[in-house]
């Protein structure tokens, strides 16, 4: 493999890894803020227990999210220095803003939240988790605005003297229609992930408690288990289900908006997603194809649905002409010179389908969860316990598939030319990569992959261990919030 392939693999691995953790953080922070708000407002201790229970899982996840994020801030310069030179004037600004506005906020106030349980007044302590929730979402906005510039460059001109893109309007950059579509889609996906996570774990615990209550010989123990399921896990699960429903609708709606934009801005990506090789009027939406089909010759469409694709592209059922991969290739060669402008057809086709198809996991859990908890019921069906756990990974996989589609669909570009923008603001990945010896990048690729894999195992094991352990006995009652700070020795409410 050459340096370009190695660098692409490294960026892909480190970014996908980071984005396994990020959506859970983005969605779970506001959900924990809601749980804690419910505790402060209703004064019911079971909301406190839920806050602490999911708070622990949140922190385990946050740590590895931060750890894998550090690399991203520097990887542009390390492996993509020519890209960094070309777009640094534009791309650096949202990155620096992310640091100034979002990273400081989330990291500082998370420290206050973790250690402040008995040091801060109740409402101030509640404010810290809300600020964390705002911080993680603000961070998502800035980094997606930066990424959207690579997909659809706006707000910049090409300076022929310096040979680079230069920022002309930060406002245009931050209100890029690509960013305004991608940000809500990503955040909705993150909320769907966190909602599924909370509802899945809550649902599994409900079933577990109810089954144990049935088997219990001790009446008091049976009552405790059922009471815990009713006062804690049921409200937690219902909160998760509510978030899933809102986020699910938002994912579909924003995805549709985003797809329509992509048909205009990156027709090659969408043609490739559909394995649409020839330009057609009202092409069918493909559900299943066979073959290696990383080229147009090997594609065999097996199942197709009419009307869907024209609607997806332009919002009408007929009378839509969509360009095929081969025509676009000819058109790009004419426009940008010789070269291969086709993304990997196999990956784009299947990642697009995986992204949408994996939504079934959350959908099944949402429908089943609403049904089994209707009218105050507490489920004890074994299948629901299994479904709750099985649904949890699906939105994570859908998030990864979505980003793999978005990023691999813009190949071979690292800055995709904007069809209505400045013609010279474009860069292919081979022009953007640093000039390293392959051995150098192999070293970093292997090191990151191994360290991340090891930490990933620990992360999964800890999340599993803390989930199975359930709400801890020492978190039943909140610590002495309102005790005055009299300066006498007092144990910390939390210590590493």
């Amino acid at each position: 493999m050459d340096v370009l392939d190695l660098s692409r693999w490294q960026f892909g691995i480190t970014t996908v890894y980071h984005f396994i953790l990020v959506p859970l953080t983005i969605g779970l922070a506001p959900m924990i803020a809601i749980m804690q708000t419910m505790w402060v407002v209703t004064k019911k201790d079971h909301w406190y227990r839920l806050t602490k229970f999911f708070g622990k899982l949140f922190l385990i996840n946050f740590a590895l999210g931060v750890a894998t994020g550090i690399v991203q801030e520097f990887q542009f310069g390390m492996n993509w220095s020519e890209y960094s030179r070309f777009v640094g004037d534009v791309f650096g600004a949202p990155l620096a803003l992310e640091g100034l506005v979002a990273f400081f906020l989330e990291s500082t106030f998370l420290g206050l939240w973790i250690f402040g349980w008995s040091r801060l007044p109740k409402l101030l302590h509640l404010a810290t988790i809300w600020l964390v929730a705002i911080g993680v979402n603000a961070s998502a906005f800035f980094i997606i605005a930066a990424n959207s510039f690579m997909q659809h460059p706006v707000g910049a001109i090409y300076n022929p003297d310096t040979g680079r893109a230069e920022l002309t309007s930060i406002w245009t950059l931050l209100t890029n229609n690509t960013a305004l579509a991608a940000f809500p889609h990503t955040v909705a996906g993150a909320f769907l992930t966190a909602g599924t996570f909370v509802a899945g774990i809550g649902g599994w615990w409900m079933v577990r408690n109810m089954r144990r209550a049935k088997q219990a010989t001790d009446v008091a123990e049976a009552e405790r288990l059922e009471g815990e399921a009713r006062t804690m896990f049921r409200p937690g699960t219902r909160l998760g289900l509510l978030v899933m429903m809102i986020a699910g609708v938002a994912v579909i709606f924003t995805g549709d908006v985003q797809a329509k934009l992509m048909f205009q801005q990156q027709p090659m990506k969408m043609a490739s997603a559909e394995s649409l090789c020839d330009t057609q009027v009202d092409p069918n939406f493909s559900i299943l194809t066979i073959g290696t089909h990383n080229d147009c010759e090997g594609v065999t469409h097996l199942i197709e649905v009419p009307f869907v694709l024209p609607y997806l592209a332009e919002g009408q059922f007929t009378g839509v002409e969509l360009q095929g991969v081969q025509d676009l290739q000819l058109q790009y060669e004419e426009q940008f010179g010789p070269g291969n402008y086709r993304p990997n057809l196999f990956v784009t086709y299947w990642s697009f389908r995986a992204m949408i198809g994996l939504g079934v996991g959350s959908l099944a859990l949402a429908l089943a969860g609403l049904w089994v908890t209707r009218g105050g019921r507490l489920p004890d069906q074994k299948w629901f316990g299994w479904l709750s756990i099985a649904a949890i990974p699906t939105p994570f996989l859908a998030n990864s598939a979505g980003w793999i589609f978005t990023e691999m669909g813009r190949q071979p570009w690292v800055v995709h030319p904007n069809p209505t923008g400045v013609d010279m603001i474009r860069l292919t990945v081979d022009q953007g990569v640093s000039d390293h010896a392959p051995a150098t990048v192999i070293a970093s690729l292997v090191a990151f992959t191994l360290v991340y894999a090891a930490l990933g195992v620990v992360w999964f094991w800890l999340i599993r261990r803390y989930t199975i352990e359930g709400p801890l006995p020492h978190d039943v009652h909140p610590p002495g919030h309102d005790e005055p700070d009299d300066g006498r020795p007092k144990q910390l409410s939390f210590a590493y």
Binding site: T108, I114, V458, Y496
Partner: protein, 347 residues
């Protein structure tokens, strides 16, 4: 002052903030095996005292680096590109160390098992030592100049970075951060942990004065300007004062002076560099300067507004965090471990 000069200063400020704040974080991690040595439960509680002095703040401190990196990218993209692609392996080692350290700090207490803790303690130690040494090596090389060709590419290779001046720089940052951490611990702990920290700080202060003294003097003589001599004097006086203050157990003032010493050293390095950002040893004309490495005036203007609005806000709330957690921590403040066991779950 033009915007390019202003952003050179702001980058220096961000790195100064990073080294002052993460300096004691690294120091605490570096000294944990010394001040928290031992295998019994008492030693573990001591290690927890040490770690919890930085508990609520280390993550916010680390963001100074991420923001410095982002600001470098935004204000001087050529510098960002040449520096991080050129110093590839040292940066890789720093990143791996920081990754392990983040997880080690957060995961250490999650499981109540001596082996688990010992492994993460190793992660905290290595994750603190490696960046403490390598940042000094990297910054000394930036000031010294490296082999940059006319395409702004670093062509010197890895081992060229390990020259005597740079290694002395690495020894300096390691010692200064260890001292800074020891003084911070003396300030933030109580009881016998504090007594040990004071003793260790005093012991560290003497070699630090010698090594750092040679480094700043070398910097001044080889790369300094007239006015930067003041910084050499400030750094030297501050470090000598630390020797005396640690002996007198005046750790508050000692901390002020280790902070002054770090700030003076960073300003000395940046001052010696100016107006270059990465001088070339191959040809003066190929050096990266604030002129040829910076962004466009518009980007710098936008970033100036953002920094002018956000920096005071960040300083206020980070300062407030330090105020909230100002109390000293002793072993009796440390609650019983609430980590889970490795094996069977609670029935």
């Amino acid at each position: 002052m033009g915007l390019q000069e202003l952003w050179f200063v702001l980058i220096a400020v961000l790195f100064t903030g990073y080294f002052v704040l993460e300096g004691f974080d690294f120091g605490v991690g570096m000294l944990m095996p010394v001040l928290g040595r031992g295998k019994d439960a008492v030693a573990d509680t001591r290690r927890r005292v040490l770690l919890n002095t930085i508990g609520p703040v280390w993550d916010g401190n680390e963001v100074w680096l991420l923001t410095a990196g982002g600001a470098l990218f935004a204000a001087f993209p050529e510098w960002y590109a040449t520096l991080f692609s050129g110093f590839y392996l040292p940066l890789l080692l720093i990143l791996l160390a920081l990754i392990v350290r983040v997880c080690a700090i957060e995961y250490r207490g999650k499981i109540d098992d001596p082996t688990w803790r010992r492994r993460w303690d190793l992660g905290i130690m290595v994750g603190s030592w490696v960046p403490a040494v390598l940042w000094g090596v990297a910054f000394a090389n930036i000031v010294r100049g490296v082999a940059i060709d006319e395409d702004k590419q670093y062509v010197g290779g890895f081992f060229a970075l390990l020259n005597p001046y740079a290694l002395l720089g690495g020894a300096t940052t390691a010692l200064v951060f260890a001292l800074h951490g020891a003084v911070f611990l003396a300030l933030k702990t109580g009881d016998e942990v504090r007594a040990d920290a004071v003793k260790l700080a005093h012991r560290l202060s003497i070699p630090t004065v010698v090594v750092a003294g040679v480094f700043v003097l070398w910097t001044q003589l080889a790369y300094g300007k007239g006015w930067t001599a003041i910084l050499v004097a400030v750094a030297a006086v501050a470090l000598v004062a630390v020797v005396a203050l640690t002996r007198l157990e005046r750790e508050g003032w000692a901390f002020v002076f280790t902070t002054v010493a770090i700030a003076a050293t960073i300003v000395l390095l940046f001052g010696s560099l100016f107006p270059n950002v990465m001088p070339s040893t191959l040809n003066d004309a190929w050096s990266l300067t604030i002129e040829n490495a910076s962004s466009s005036p518009y980007t710098l203007k936008v970033m100036t507004w953002a920094a002018a609005i956000m920096t005071p806000v960040v300083l206020i709330y980070q300062g407030w965090t330090y105020w909230v957690f100002r109390q000293r921590i002793s072993t009796h403040h440390i609650p019983k471990s609430i980590g889970l066991t490795v094996g069977a779950e609670r029935s």
